[in-house]
């Protein structure tokens, strides 16, 4: 296990470099640079701008710039934002917890609900289960921002139900925070919930036809136990995979939801910094995302081993 983990960690290095190189290249592929953004309205002297560019190292060849960036990042120095001159690490430290909270809760709810719901849908064939199943498909078909706007219109509108706050995460206090979290978390939960439930249901249906389940039933083990112990364990594999792949998106945040609900998290930070060509921030966000992804992929592999002892971790790499 130790050797496996070590090997996996080493394999992360090329992936990490790949992600950052690609982000760096693509970000610089887009024309426009940060020191030009406001010049049109202020008419700054060109010579000064050239001097500042040189000072910021923006006139060096791209590989050199990347090298400089990398050498600073390994010392945990993300540099300063070109736009507001704050340390990028400070901006990340502000945004990351917000996104982790909102999106983390959403994933928790989505998967927490998906498992019992999926099992329910797989084992019962009633009108209710059909309705729930159809309902989940329907909501998955509606764009998130659209649902967000409608929810605001219903729950935060003085002319309708004026019960929930519209913007931000409140001004401290757990109750206030929870109140502010309801709508954004709901909006982020439902698409994942729909997909995850579908996965669980499908896996469960398949598991229930397998020989070992039949054997367990034949041995007289109660159906409840058959479903929740034997079958579920095996149907969790695809769910864990899905969870692993949703984690990076969780930390990347949803730009759309963060925008509508005014939550200054990672998604908005990434979007805004790309728009303003704030490369240090763009790279900072990309780095955090890369590390998060790699760790969650590792976590998935390790979880496989725990859920299904038949899979030896060595093979699954």
């Amino acid at each position: 296990m130790k050797r496996y983990l070590l090997r996996r960690l080493l394999l992360m290095v090329p992936t990490f470099l790949g992600i950052t190189v690609l982000t760096f290249a693509v970000a610089h592929l887009a024309p426009g640079d940060p020191l030009q953004l406001d010049q049109e309205t202020v008419g700054a002297a060109q010579a000064d701008v050239a001097k500042q560019r040189a000072e910021k190292g923006l006139d060096a060849p791209l590989p050199v710039q990347y090298g400089r960036w990398l050498s600073r990042v390994v010392r945990f120095d993300f540099g300063r934002s070109y736009i507001d001159q704050r340390p990028v690490s400070e901006k990340l430290a502000e945004a990351l917890p917000r996104t982790a909270l909102v999106s983390g809760l959403a994933v928790l709810f989505a998967f927490g609900l998906a498992v019992p719901l999926g099992v329910f849908l797989a084992t019962r064939k009633t009108l209710l289960s059909r309705a729930v199943s159809a309902g989940l498909t329907v909501v998955w078909g509606v764009p998130t921002f659209w649902v967000a706007v409608l929810l605001l219109l219903v729950f935060s509108n003085p002319r309708a139900l004026d019960v929930l706050p519209m913007q931000g995460l409140g001004e401290g206090g757990l109750v206030d925070l929870a109140w502010h979290l309801v709508l954004p978390v709901a909006c982020l939960t439902y698409p994942t919930l729909a997909i995850a439930t579908r996965q669980v249901r499908a896996a469960m249906q398949e598991a229930l036809t397998q020989d070992y389940v039949k054997a367990a039933r034949a041995r007289g083990i109660p159906e409840r136990r058959v479903v929740w112990r034997h079958a579920l364990r095996n149907s969790l594999l695809p769910v864990v995979t899905l969870l692993g792949f949703s984690l990076p998106h969780v930390l990347g945040g949803s730009v759309v939801i963060e925008r509508v609900f005014g939550i200054p998290g990672m998604g908005l930070l990434a979007f805004d910094s790309v728009g303003t060509r704030d490369y240090p921030t763009v790279m900072g966000v990309a780095t955090v995302m890369a590390v998060a992804t790699l760790l969650s992929m590792l976590a998935v592999d390790v979880a496989y081993g725990f859920i299904d002892p038949r899979i030896r971790v060595e093979e699954s790499s």
């Binding site: 202020v42 060109q46 507001d84 502000e94 059909r130 309708a160």
Partner: protein
Amino acid sequence: MRVLLTGLLASGLLGACTCQKKPAELDAGAPVPAPSAEWMQGKLPAPKPGEAPKKGGTFTLRVNLEPTGLTRLHDQMAEGTMTRLTVGPIYETLGRVDPKAPEGPLLPLLAEAWEESDDHLTLTVRLRGGVRFHDGSPLTAKDFKAVVDVILNPKNATAAIRNYLADLDAVTAPDERTLVVKWKRPYFLANRTFLGTIPAMPAKALDGDFDALPIHRAPIGTGPFRFEKWEAGSSMSYARHDGYWGQKAWVDRVVIRFVKDETVAAQLWERGEFDLMTRIPPTVWRAVEAPVEANRWAITGYQRSAFVENTYTWIGWNERRPFFGDARVRRALALLYPREQVARLVDLGLEPPTTCPYYASKESCDPAITPLPADPGGARRLLDEAGWKDSDGDGVRDKDGVPLRFTFLATTYSVKLGKLLPLFQEALRQGGVEGDIERIDPGAYSSRVRARDFDVIAMSWSSTDAVQDVFQIFHSSQAKEGSNSVGYANPEVDALLEQIRTEFDPKARAALERQVHRKLFDDQVYLFLSLRPQLDAVKNRVRGLVPGIAWYRLQDVWLSE
């Protein structure tokens, strides 16, 4: 099953939308009064006689963008409008624009008086005594000198504000309360800009790595409010500065909330969360006017303020392109512009048309000039005359094998252009002209404009002072790197603009400026669109707000309850 569910979904959505028409139960019953004429026009009511200002309360206002920093100095952080709104109550300058006569001389603020030498090359300022910064340290002439030094240091990202001091010879502080400013050459705006732009900042807060100065994000000034806190992404707050040298502010705190999304902002406004709602979109402004139950909150709870500020929008033709070099083509395109439809359907009658690059209501504009009316027939004749005819029968005019087809460059976020350009596009098509629309993100936009890599752009210019110089925008020397991005070059205009720079008599200058206005109109450098009004709403309990060219003065605000 599936069809049925879709039907349900649709009716669910409908339900959600009709529920908002439900009357508010609070004060239902009494009919909604028709709004007053002042309310409709957006004129804030005059102060009520017998009401004395009182202290206390929190004044909350909405702004649509978050500033990147709270400073007038740093290039990347000192974005015009945002800075004006957010830094205004904290920093003070030596003089300020007179809100009642913005084109007149400046009023003293941190200066007691100043004196200009006869050759206009020396300005001697006598500072007000007993002024202290928010951190308790006294303001001296040395502080001003330190600010100027920081600005002039070429290593610092202060190119924008340094531009104003390009002709500066030297600034000296012979004693604590005297500041002497010397210029290399006379320029009519030099002193006014210095007095009205350079903020008072404590010298010791400017030591160190300029980019990393804490004062950029936690300003220390001499103004009636002191900075309290800034929650990145959501809000910032100021507290009354009790040690203020002048008339102290009335409200305890000012909270500025950053709400970018217009729909969300409108709903927060309706919930009553703002004492001052700014930048109301024209559609929302018009939508709350009908005296129906759904609008009761706005009609009975808020006063409206429509202030036509010194911002005008324009469409600029890149004269380096084969078709736009000819003034006749530019005029023809202006004649195709569906001015009436845009005014009625996009601006909703809220944006007065303009043709003038100067402060709209004043002497600098020639009152005889009115916008060109839409005249497709005249446009076709002009284009024929200029040699742009449809010679290959494809419906698009061409000349020497070049079709009259170009691309409008617009940022992805402009709602107004999103409506205006499709209208213009169709009107152009009626005249045999093809205009495509390319939307790009703001980052790429400004660099494309800077590289002159565009056919047509639509932008706006705004200014905080009624006394202006348009040299940077229209002089041919500014075509390569300055703000003359369309590449306009007219020797007569160049000569006028140069003459204006050294003309110190306002009357004589206005006469020259009228000539500039006339020439720019004849040449149709820009298709001038309209003056953009500032549409705001103020809660009933708020008193003392007066819109002006320098926005609002928040120290005059007080709350009646």
